[in-house]
Subunit: 239 residues, 2 copies
């Protein structure tokens, strides 16, 4: 058994409303809690799962921050997302019983391990869980539509502005500041996600800072003028 595996209790988890259906009976909640068998700790830089590994479970992030990325044999890499507390990882593995991307912790992290056969079993009995699983997958599909829009039709400044706004919005939903954030990823990782080179990311940060929209000190970013950023995102479409 994994030495970093720990028993878990959804009942007291403050992320419950993020990863669990709402309005469950106490009884159903307890049954789901049995599915969420263990926690697993992941050190910064370590993989939660790797491309090619067999798929067994979905993972709900309790603490920490992850990136997921796909890679081709010939060395191309693309960050497909950044995940934070309450978000679910591993959905890519269902179709082929093998993971098709890598999940890497960008800071020390803890995830809840949810064996997928148990999820399927229980969601045949608990309607709310079933629908919740469907919603989670649908949400991921819709999120990726948004990324495709970003990659396919936005320019560098628009991409970075949209990225920053998305990040703070998600952080704010978790109780953090809506104006201040600490980036857990490198410029290169941001660039990969946004389809830009790290130099372009860096330059664009500097440009936003010059314009007074943000303040940047390495990975600490302060959003000074969120509306200016929003403006940048919307303005581009007027072409």
């Amino acid at each position: 058994m994994n030495p970093s595996a720990i028993k878990v209790a959804c009942t007291n988890c403050n992320l419950r409303e993020l990863c669990m259906p709402v309005g469950l009976s106490d009884q159903d909640l307890l049954r789901i809690e049995e599915v969420v068998e263990t926690k697993r700790k992941i050190k910064r830089g370590a993989h939660l799962f790797k491309d090619g590994e067999s798929f067994n479970a979905l993972y709900a992030i309790r603490t920490g921050f992850f990136k997921t990325c796909v890679a081709t044999e010939d060395g191309r890499e693309q960050v497909t997302g950044f995940q934070m507390a309450g978000e679910i990882m591993g959905l890519d593995g269902i179709v082929s019983d093998h993971h098709t991307c890598n999940a890497v912790a960008l800071e020390d992290a803890e995830v809840c391990v949810m064996p997928f056969d148990q999820i399927e079993h229980l969601s045949r009995e608990v309607k709310a869980l079933q629908h919740h699983v469907h919603k989670i997958m649908s949400r991921e599909i819709v999120r990726e539509h948004g990324v495709m829009l970003l990659l396919g039709s936005m320019r560098a400044e628009e991409r970075l502005a949209a990225f920053l706004l998305n990040l703070v919005q998600r952080l704010h939903a978790r109780g953090f500041s809506r104006t201040e954030l600490v980036l857990r990823m490198t410029r290169e990782e941001i660039g990969s996600y946004l389809g830009l080179k790290l130099e372009t990311v860096s330059r664009t940060f500097s440009k936003f800072a010059e314009e007074g929209s943000i303040e940047v000190k390495q990975r600490h970013v302060q959003i000074i003028d969120p509306q200016a950023l929003q403006q940048i995102v919307n303005a581009g479409a007027c072409a």
Copy 2:
């Protein structure tokens, strides 16, 4: 009732193995057939569903060809995919009970309408159906990862080559030629999907034709040298 609604029979459908789980008992198959209540005909240019409409059903394409696209209020548009016979549309609508993209027929089409509440109901009882639904959603997530890789890290030629190879591969799986295809979409729609302008798409077609990899007559494309196209896709990663 929709005048173009027609009773359907999965049992004889030659696309069954594409949209249905395999190894079903005759009994289960009949039950699923009840879920697939009706067909619906869509004229070229008409919407199957629109962004904002309430979500009721998933759609399996019987004949015809679709595009799905997202749009922002401010006029930006992005084609998120092209769908052909046997593929499932509408997954985007599950999360919010409303569709978040547009599905437009690029040629006269017929789809099977599968009310989602019935799918959920039945997949609580038929394990194979449940898993099949999960796989379909996971497959879409993985597909979109591929598009993100394409948009985020490939150059124009690589994108178009990958696009063509993907199209013929899917067509071939449906019994069509693996070297000849008729594009059902405009250069502009290809461009939107690939994050390029229509002029770039056109120029790149011409370039491939000059190099002898393909022959292009408007929307008729003949793949002369598939390996050359594959080469182009792989080569780019060596940077």
